[in-house]
């Protein structure tokens, strides 16, 4: 086993674990191929901490005499400190953790070794298939078809094998359109608004270049989604300036002259390292131990995190507004169509479609609009807020999406079937997991890695009733309406559940949540009792009357 070579010291005794809000605990530290395990020796209250190596974002060493200290910063933003006696042990352990947490081969990751201890009732890998979605669609409209043009990922490497496109556009035309779009991401259906038949499509930027190239098939494809005499909106998630600059590199945007039925709106959503730096600054501010109120607010401001939240939500609201209020179809794209585009299309669906506010519906949304749509999870989530290496493809795009969902959830606390914990759980698993769901950058890579055969799906685990109950929102009452969040600064808040999770005591908030559950549970119990009694009485009375009639 190759991990053994990386583990120089598999075990150390008399290690002291420090965490905020807990007393320091002494215990034994063990390293395995995938976990760092700390177990306290105390007989009365044995405690174990299991940490996935892949959850470790960075590690620091310090020495005072022969006592070494390792500070471990995790991708879920937690920070723990281990005091390890013996300089050599400490160095060995630190370098082992470093090596094990930065394995470069995907197939060495834990999901390939993880064996579930639970019974699988439903295979998550087969829970959200494009055909099922399409069946739902074809029950309300026949204007769309499933195309298998990408079945061997030859047309677009980041698309799934099957995509939904307008019925009137054949595969030959799609091939031509693919050549005209960045990374071959031709426009596909993202969402069909049953209420008025309007649609949301997504793609990448058109390759117009400096000389204004055009593609008749592309124009035909997106025009095919318009009703006669109707206009549509193209939401470009870049500023006009950025979009214009993209032409020099062969990219660009849809020219009015060639797309007369479409109106283009530019909404600037930041990307890549700007977002990553924003996350780093935000987490730094949240971990700042100083007492100064002003510094906190200015650091929060300087991180720009909430500005990004506001921009993304505003763009999503705009897309939703075009569809629901203006009765127009929408095409969303940025540059590659794998990041800001997906933030906008998925959030717009949460606003518009009550189904996406259920647990199953939200999972389906994540699968469709993020995993199958080719958001490069492995690249984006390789490192989190504590990383020193600044690779340009890392970015908290998915975390921003989850944060936006939390903002809407906070404004409509009774309209979501899931709770905040559900979102936090998805954040954790996107960055480090025992499940294969978020491995790979697209369906093509996942199929090459044979993830469905070799790893367990996150959904197989989550969708069992034991787990589900933790993620259910006790206040949920189905709300079939469109929900319009406010994006004013006063309405947006720091997501404490993620960013202050490890630096604030949660006891009182937990108690409040518990109380909420109790209130609702008691109400439901009473309702059941009353109903049962009523039935019983009704039966007895009928019996009575029958007896009397006899």
């Amino acid at each position: 086993m190759e991990f053994a070579e990386l583990i120089k010291t598999p075990r150390a005794d008399n290690v002291v674990l420090h965490r905020p809000f807990y007393l320091a605990v002494e215990g034994t530290l063990c390293l395995t191929g995938h976990h760092l395990i700390f177990s306290s020796r105390r007989q009365d209250n044995a405690e174990e901490l299991w940490l996935l190596h892949s959850n470790i974002d960075s590690i620091e060493k310090r020495f005072v005499g022969s006592l070494g200290t390792i500070i471990i910063k995790c991708k879920d933003l937690r920070i723990i400190q281990l005091d390890i006696p013996g300089m050599e042990e400490c160095l060995n352990i630190a370098s082992s953790i470093e090596a094990l947490s930065t394995l470069d081969s995907v197939t060495l990751m834990y999901p390939f070794f993880y064996r579930p201890m639970f019974e699988i009732t439903e295979d998550g890998w087969r829970a959200f298939l494009p055909h099922q979605e399409f069946e739902l669609l074809s029950s309300v409209t026949d204007e769309w078809r499933l195309s298998c043009i990408n079945k061997d990922f030859s047309v677009c490497p980041s698309y799934p094998p099957v995509v939904t496109v307008p019925k009137s556009i054949d595969d030959e035309a799609l091939r031509k359109v693919a050549l005209f779009r960045h990374g071959s991401r031709f426009p596909v259906l993202s969402y069909y608004h049953q209420k008025n038949g309007m649609v949301m499509m997504r793609s990448s930027q058109p390759l117009t270049g400096t000389n204004g190239r055009r593609c008749k098939e592309d124009e035909k494809l997106i025009n095919a989604t318009l009703r006669p005499g109707k206009r549509g909106y193209i939401i470009d998630t870049r500023s006009l300036n950025v979009a214009q600059q993209a032409r020099a590199k062969g990219g660009g945007f849809e020219q009015e002259a060639h797309y007369p039925q479409w109106r283009r709106i530019h909404k600037c959503i930041e990307r890549f390292n700007i977002l990553q730096e924003s996350l780093i600054k935000l987490v730094e501010a949240c971990n700042d131990q100083s007492h100064n109120m002003d510094r906190w607010l200015s650091k929060l401001e300087a991180s720009n995190w909430l500005t990004h939240i506001k921009e993304i939500l505003t763009a999503a609201c705009l897309a939703a507004q075009c569809i629901d209020r203006e009765g127009a179809s929408v095409l969303v794209h940025g540059t590659e169509g794998t990041d800001s585009t997906l933030q906008v299309t998925s959030l717009a669906q949460i606003i518009l479609d009550p189904r996406c506010r259920t647990i199953h519906g939200f999972e389906s949304l994540v699968v469709r609009e993020w995993l199958q749509a080719g958001h490069p999870f492995q690249q984006r989530c390789a490192q989190s807020a504590y990383s020193n290496s600044k690779q340009k493809w890392e970015a908290p795009v998915f975390l921003l999406f989850l944060d936006c969902v939390w903002q809407i959830l906070r404004q409509f606390p009774c309209s979501f079937e899931f709770n905040e914990q559900f979102l936090i759980m998805l954040f954790e698993h996107a960055y480090a997991s025992q499940f294969g769901t978020f491995l790979g950058n697209n369906e093509n890579e996942r199929s090459k890695l044979k993830l469905p055969q070799k790893t367990m799906s996150l959904w197989s685990w989550v969708n069992r009733s034991e787990e589900l109950s933790k993620f259910q929102n006790p206040l949920f009452e189905a709300n079939s309406l469109v929900i319009w969040p406010s994006v004013a600064p006063q309405s947006l808040q720091l997501w404490e559940g993620v960013f202050l999770r490890w630096n604030r005591p949660s006891k009182f908030l937990d108690e409040a949540h518990e109380e909420m559950i109790n209130i609702i549970k008691y109400n439901k119990e009473l309702q059941a009792k009353v109903n049962a009694l009523r039935r019983q009485l009704a039966e007895m009375e009928t019996d009575d009357r029958m007896q009397e009639n006899l």
Binding site: I265, M293, S486, R534
Partner: protein, 658 residues
């Protein structure tokens, strides 16, 4: 009425602050007590009522083609923007309001004309609801260390103190009077809170007149007496809540702070809370931020930081936490003062009391707390909240800050308070409304002279009557966070202090969560109660039926008739409990539902007798507008509110809508 130059103007437009597109047309009325805007739209008939006493500023802006804009800012943070067609009318309204908003006599205030149709006895009962002697008894006073003193009868020693003060038993009248002469405005050390468990206490006073070297034997004896009243501790803390620089500057004026060398066994401590002028400017700056039209996130956060508001809130809280810890954990008594001992001292004593004693976190207890630390000890309500026309430099949001501290604590300890956010907001509203007599004048003495209790009603009785609206569904008196001392984190906890949009953007309903967890849970709890009752009824019926089946037929049939009757009512009841019906039920549930277009007299009659707006929400318009959303959490019509103005409110959207 003589100040009303123009009682009615038609075709006035009320602008929506967030969107000029949403202006509504209506008629503006001026009455002796209110500004009323009644919409023309016959379907909604929405009315906006604003008490004159709520008006903090009126601004006439440059006339435009559409008319003459008038901006009214209120002390409860409502901002009303009107456009009046004729410049002349606007001027008349402006001049009238300037006068109406700044009464010169107490008799002009609303509480002297407000009539909730209660008889004399009910009114008197109302004033008895909060009884401070009872409260000191509850603390365990008088006891062997503390006694009630009549030294201030007829307000002879200190005219801003209550007639009845609690002092250490060993403090003789001679000591008290002597000490009072050595304190600003003769506000000598007196008991604010006594902590039964360990005899430690919180006392309050004004600054000593120590200058650079003056001493006063009686004052030193007074502090000694306070220490002796707590045998468990050999020193007391003296907390000066001013920044050290301010306190030192006071020495030049013959005032200052205690010299540790002169007083035996004291530990002196500065905790810097800024003065009323800094606080007034800070609020002003924060409100400017709240008023920004579609600000960016940076504008907002930067402005919030720049206002310093949350920093000040934290300073007050930190002082309260320090005092509470000294008392509960160290068992040491504390004397708190600032300059005059009626602003910062009131804030710190009341925050500390609230942290120490769960009673003050109940609906009734909170009323008692405000009565104890603010009303009775001469917090200058009239000056601070500008009830009568006066020096604008005296105005400062002192109690607003205390109320916000409570809200910040509620956010950290969601199960610890019996009341909810609405309770705080309504109290803030009524501190400015002058609808009830509680907060009139600057001292107990002035209130007695004015016969306030004989001539006006008490807010506490009013709030008590409608207390169901103010309950926190998560409160449980048996919870760990409910009992005993609250321990908020001192530092580093900057991130725990948040902007309170429910207060400062109170009237911008579009900015708030569209579904209220509190209202939802209260509705569930109400339903639960109904279910409990029904369960009991059904249980009885079942028992009856079982009994009757054992009896002979003739008796049985008779009984069955009865139970059938019973059954009818029960099943009616139960109908209301099915989920579908429940939403209807809910619509009428929160009794704060804005029905100011009163059913009985939907015509607008402009006499005071008809003004029933004792509920702050009744004098607003925004509630009605968002009523559907507010009450909607369980109803199908919920959530489907219009897109918030901000969702797409920028140039791009304007382009695409054009």
């Amino acid at each position: 009425m003589e100040h009303i130059r123009m009682p009615k103007v038609e075709n006035v437009r009320l602008l929506d602050r967030l969107s000029s597109r949403k202006a509504v047309l209506g008629t503006l009325y001026l009455t002796a007590t209110h500004v009323i805007f009644a919409e023309n739209d016959s379907e909604t008939r929405k009315e906006t009522w604003v008490l004159h006493s709520q008006i903090s500023s009126i601004e006439k802006q440059a006339t435009t083609a559409t008319g003459c804009p008038l901006l009214i800012r209120c002390k409860n943070f409502q901002v009303i923007q009107l456009v009046i067609p004729q410049e002349r009318d606007c001027h008349d309204i402006y001049i009238s309001l300037i006068r109406l908003a700044r009464p010169v006599k107490y008799e002009e205030l609303y509480c002297f004309s407000f009539n909730p149709k209660l008889d004399k006895e009910e009114r008197e009962q109302g004033w008895k609801l909060v009884d401070l002697n009872e409260e000191y008894n509850r603390m365990g006073i008088p006891n062997s260390y503390w006694q009630i003193s009549d030294v201030n009868r007829d307000y002879g020693v200190c005219d801003s103190y209550p007639m009845e003060v609690y002092v250490p038993k060993s403090a003789t009248a001679h000591i008290i009077v002597g000490s009072s002469k050595f304190r600003s405005r003769r506000r000598f050390p007196a008991l604010s809170y006594y902590y039964k468990d360990n005899n430690a206490s919180i006392c309050r006073s004004s600054q000593p007149l120590s200058g650079f070297s003056a001493r006063c034997l009686e004052d030193e004896q007074m502090l000694q007496a306070i220490r002796k009243a707590n045998p468990g501790s050999d020193f007391i803390y003296v907390v000066d809540t001013r920044p050290k620089l301010n306190a030192m500057a006071n020495r030049a004026a013959g005032k200052g702070y205690e010299n540790e060398d002169n007083y035996s066994n004291i530990k002196f401590q500065f905790i810097g809370i800024e003065n009323i002028h800094v606080m007034r400017n800070s609020l002003q700056k924060m409100l400017e931020v709240c008023e920004l039209k579609s600000p960016s996130m940076s504008d907002f956060l930067w402005g919030l930081e720049n206002s310093g508001w949350l920093k000040h809130i934290k300073a007050i809280m930190d002082a309260g936490i320090f005092v509470a810890k000294a008392v509960a954990e160290e068992g040491v008594s504390v004397l708190v003062h600032c300059s005059d001992g009626w602003d910062r001292t009131a804030q710190v004593c009341s925050v500390a009391s609230l942290l120490l004693d769960p009673y003050y976190r109940t609906v009734k207890g909170f009323m008692v707390l405000i009565e104890k630390d603010w009303v009775s000890f001469g917090h200058k309500f009239n000056h601070r909240y500008g009830n009568l026309d006066g020096d604008p430099k005296e105005i400062s949001p002192v109690i607003d800050q205390f109320i916000e501290c409570v809200w910040q604590l509620m956010e950290q300890f969601p199960c610890a308070f019996e009341f909810n956010e609405r309770f705080l907001i309504h109290i803030q509203h009524h501190i400015y409304s002058c609808q009830f007599g509680n907060f009139l004048c600057n001292s107990q003495k002035e209130r007695r002279e004015l016969n306030v209790q004989e001539r006006t009603y008490s807010l506490w009785a009013h709030l008590w009557k409608t207390r169901a609206d103010y309950l926190n569904p998560l409160y449980r008196s048996d919870r760990s966070q409910t009992q005993g001392t609250l321990h908020p984190r001192m530092a580093p906890c900057n991130f725990l202090y948040k902007f309170w949009s429910g207060m400062y953007n109170r009237f911008e309903k579009g900015l708030h969560p569209r579904q209220s967890v509190t209202d939802y849970l209260m509705a569930v709890k109400e339903e639960t109660q109904q279910l409990e009752e029904e369960l009991e009824v059904l249980g009885k019926r079942l028992a009856n039926l079982q009994k009757s089946q054992l009896n002979d037929n003739r008796v049985k049939s008779k009984q069955q008739d009865q139970s059938e009757q019973l059954g009818l009512s029960a099943s009616n009841n139960s109908l209301a409990n099915t989920p579908q019906e429940y939403s209807n039920d809910l619509k009428s549930f929160p009794s704060r539902s804005p029905s100011q277009g009163d059913e009985e007299d939907s015509a607008l009659i402009l006499t005071q007798e008809n003004l029933k707006s004792s509920d702050p929400d009744l004098s607003t318009n925004s509630d009605q507008e968002s009523g559907v959303e507010d009450l909607s959490c369980r109803s199908l019509s919920g959530g489907g509110c219009l897109p918030s103005e901000d969702s797409g409110k920028d140039s791009d959207e304007a382009v695409f809508l054009a």
